[in-house]
Subunit: 352 residues, 4 copies
Amino acid sequence: MDTSEKISVGIVGASGYGGVQLVRLLLEHPQVEITYLGGKESAGKDFAELYPHFSHRFQRTIEPIDPETIAQQCQVVFLSLPHGLGYKIAPQLLAKGCKVLDLSADYRFRDISTYTATYNVERDDNDTVASAVYGLPELYRESIKTASLIGCPGCYPTASLLAIAPLLKQGLILPETVIIDAKSGTSGGGRKSKVNLLLAEADNSISPYGVAGHRHTPEIEAICTDLAGAEVKVQFTPHLLPMVRGMLTTVYATLRDPGLVRDDLLTIYKALYRSCPFVTILPNGIYPQTKWTAGTNLCYIGVEVDPRTDRVIVMSVIDNLMKGQASQAIQCLNLMFNWEETLGLPQITFYP
Amino acid sequence: MDTSEKISVGIVGASGYGGVQLVRLLLEHPQVEITYLGGKESAGKDFAELYPHFSHRFQRTIEPIDPETIAQQCQVVFLSLPHGLGYKIAPQLLAKGCKVLDLSADYRFRDISTYTATYNVERDDNDTVASAVYGLPELYRESIKTASLIGCPGCYPTASLLAIAPLLKQGLILPETVIIDAKSGTSGGGRKSKVNLLLAEADNSISPYGVAGHRHTPEIEAICTDLAGAEVKVQFTPHLLPMVRGMLTTVYATLRDPGLVRDDLLTIYKALYRSCPFVTILPNGIYPQTKWTAGTNLCYIGVEVDPRTDRVIVMSVIDNLMKGQASQAIQCLNLMFNWEETLGLPQITFYP
Amino acid sequence: MDTSEKISVGIVGASGYGGVQLVRLLLEHPQVEITYLGGKESAGKDFAELYPHFSHRFQRTIEPIDPETIAQQCQVVFLSLPHGLGYKIAPQLLAKGCKVLDLSADYRFRDISTYTATYNVERDDNDTVASAVYGLPELYRESIKTASLIGCPGCYPTASLLAIAPLLKQGLILPETVIIDAKSGTSGGGRKSKVNLLLAEADNSISPYGVAGHRHTPEIEAICTDLAGAEVKVQFTPHLLPMVRGMLTTVYATLRDPGLVRDDLLTIYKALYRSCPFVTILPNGIYPQTKWTAGTNLCYIGVEVDPRTDRVIVMSVIDNLMKGQASQAIQCLNLMFNWEETLGLPQITFYP
Amino acid sequence: MDTSEKISVGIVGASGYGGVQLVRLLLEHPQVEITYLGGKESAGKDFAELYPHFSHRFQRTIEPIDPETIAQQCQVVFLSLPHGLGYKIAPQLLAKGCKVLDLSADYRFRDISTYTATYNVERDDNDTVASAVYGLPELYRESIKTASLIGCPGCYPTASLLAIAPLLKQGLILPETVIIDAKSGTSGGGRKSKVNLLLAEADNSISPYGVAGHRHTPEIEAICTDLAGAEVKVQFTPHLLPMVRGMLTTVYATLRDPGLVRDDLLTIYKALYRSCPFVTILPNGIYPQTKWTAGTNLCYIGVEVDPRTDRVIVMSVIDNLMKGQASQAIQCLNLMFNWEETLGLPQITFYP
């Protein structure tokens, strides 16, 4: 395929951690070319000014965010903005024929009232919302292939849903018993200067936050409900860890059939994820480490059953900025253009 | 009180992390004097050779472990050895009039068969075991005061039990719903060279271990059962965190009475721990950070209720080497000698 | 000494890392009582709101900064403010009889023009400046004892000067060959939200900064010149390390007499610091680790001679927030009131 | 190029950190195929048993080290063994027509007596040694292209020599003034369980080691002498940092001509490294961070001149396991086979 056939791609919100992952990945993606970078406060700056380690490979000025201009320059647009901004420009981009992948929460909910209740943003773009597909390829691959607008999942929902989907789809657990204890590196907080994200504060410490009320709970529940075919409420507790990248969810649930053993579940998990190149089910007794996913689009899953308590414990790890954000969006892009699902996506980390 | 009245204290197993905490603390304790350090592989070495930062304050050679000699030199002996060794020398020390605080698992179980099943060590010293008291002052203060032999709790049980005790004592939860998701720094693994504890391996990563089968589970369950007055089984999952010290437990349980709100629980927790100088119940909406406990004997507890799920979430933090090990043993010592409970124990950390 | 005799102490700038160290230390100092906390943006807040781990031990509201009020409430005032603020209130406090310890750069320079050139602040309070003493007790102990105004040293100068002072005082090196390669944890940057101090940015990385132009260079040079009795220029390069606390300086200089060996220098160093309870000269072949100083007022120094190059290499470590800032100020306080120099100051760390 | 044309490659010493980097890189290298993994203690194990994150991509059993077998299976052999082992098998492999890249110190020295003095290994294979080329492509590119045996540089020498080469080649500095203050992450210590490399010990601390006597000094000096055309002695001090990967060298030297300014030096550096795709000279006032190199073969260099002291300060960063070890070896491989120098080598990191 020669360069002239490459798809032109733009990134709105290029200065953040989501943006820099996208730039990094798309630069090495064989089928696309970055033709636009946009930002609000960063407009006018050179990208390599914000990230000097790019200086030898990529020079491009960040432009103001103007949908008209973007649509002229790009066939595909990634929106890497805080929630409440993407829905203001996505419709215009779609109208002009762009495909849009929104990394914020704006298009993750089919039910706009849940979004409004959770993010406290009033809006009435029901039609656009209805056309959006939830960008978790392992669960919604076929819909993604034909979509023009993707609501890319949050990092916690990605890790949680990959861990729990087989249990809910197969009806193996009592839905009201689901507890998700999640742990994340600090990069999830973004490249924003907050005191609690300073190394001096966050290093050598762990703390829970958003207990019983984190915004990702309704997102997880909406998809769980969709998978289970009945309402699911989950207990979700995120924790801030002293590390840069990486996310682990430890999921607990009571088995409907206490006769199930670990091997049964491993078989079920492997079957469900057989055609998923980025999900690896670990063998008996091996539990995942977040480090295995750094800089990749991978998800490793370990499964354990406790016969004493009739519970299943599922542990999943991802890189929160990759499978939890940027590289998963590119996985969706690959599907939308009918390219190899793994195209341009790192499949193995550098260890240690 | 003049120096001649100080209690003579020995530490067996002085070279490990438990040992070095004890030395550090006892050096500044106004009522004791360190008169003996013992070790197996470290015998013959100077303590400051193992820990050069002590060279300006403390010079003492580590001696071989001989109960006869120890009993001559010490009124109190701390045993900071791996499990399966303490019970071989404790009876001799007790017979010669020493008070013994064992930091291993050897005297944590009233039921010797649970110990044997868990630690795979055959023994038949039922009488000594029967005389031992579980060294968690907040729960067994009165018994500790009159004991000669203390089985000091593990770090995970300390953090877990302080979090869950009020719920079990007051019968507030359904006991079969208890899930303890615990997170620990790597110093809990000891000063032993294991590949998985290398900085290169453990840094920037988190992983679960001992899922559905960790040795601390029976210890937690035995005390929970004692507190509840009925058998309690818990789901306990430890995780290894990329940090030196600190332990967080996030405890989930379903409330018996779904009408209880957070304020009710805070009131109950505060009441139960009113006379406990080392336990702080945090106000509404403040969740604990492990960093607050570094180098102290403190435990901070946060409580949350989720009215959507009728669950209580209790979060407790300790320093695993201090309240989870060495300083808690000294807290017991203070009680055994009828000294101020806080004597010689750090009560506030250096932050950050 | 009974409580009524305690000295009343105030801290201006209580919300920062310097402030929180001072509060922590002064709370346990037997001869003082904290009677005032002041701040600008933090005025009106409770101290435990900023640092919840203090809630069980210390409740005090931060007040606005009014010299009149401060002088009424305090016999001693610690100024823990950014440079350029302290010199505006110190004269008033001194005039009303307070003793003042300024942790900023405002009173570190005898020559006001060096301060002005370095910090770009115009001022003409020559008289006050002339009365200030540089608060490095190991070098200026006698002057500190009788001073009313202390200009407390920066963290880098403290570590650098303790390492190099014996060489300059004894004329052992060629002054123009001094190179100080310094490394610091990120807490030196303060509790300010700067992007480069985020854990996500600073963790797992090291970088130099302020190369050939850092503000601490003139401060180091002024004292070196004083010690050597002749002008000294140093090459000073600071580096930001992925850790919370701790500072190491590696100092290189060419020996005037190439016949000197390591043992000669160790003898000289030990002699010079013989009466300094917080400086420890390490034995042959032991090099210092910053971790040994965490939470203490200690400085460990290692000395090496390279006979191949005729250079001496001196390595010093301190806790940048303690000996490099807050606890050193209290060491000065102890001298000013003729108390034991070590009073209330931690002398050994918790390891690891 | 079809698969049958791929070069067959073996890795001896596959279980260590060097080995796992090589496996990771060679798996994605388009011109090679891994046909052999060898190890001593790890023989018989599956590679994915040692590194479970490879399980979805690479299954191969580690074989015993038998030169005969290796030569049958491989056209190219990477030796990733401790020093003193490679030189025992390299001659046999070469004799059978293999190309050999040795990552140990065994073939880094032209003068066998320096090796013997430094590594305390007696040997007399002068002929093989004479045929070896030092594998630093930026300095010895042409010789590497025609070599059959590469002595791959140590990590510290790589970072140091790239920083200092332009100064020595152009005769810009006084050679006797060179001081290299180097800082490394702990992965340089290998996947060996040593107490000082435990996270509990090494985290939140920095310490110097090997002061005035580190083994990499003679290696650096030998190449410096070659570049300068006259004997060069350097002062080299390594430090252990609390991070996994990454290495920074801060190099100090006195300029021969004090009239040189920073821009002059930047021009010289850029010219010298113009055709070097992996070396980036940073613009004025930008200093390198080790994080920029993680998982890549890059070296970033910053240059500063201090007109006050007539010194140049050069700062270079690399990933110690990549440009400092494994990926640099593959860069050599690319040259040896006349492939694109950058083939299969990551050229930009994932940040942060």
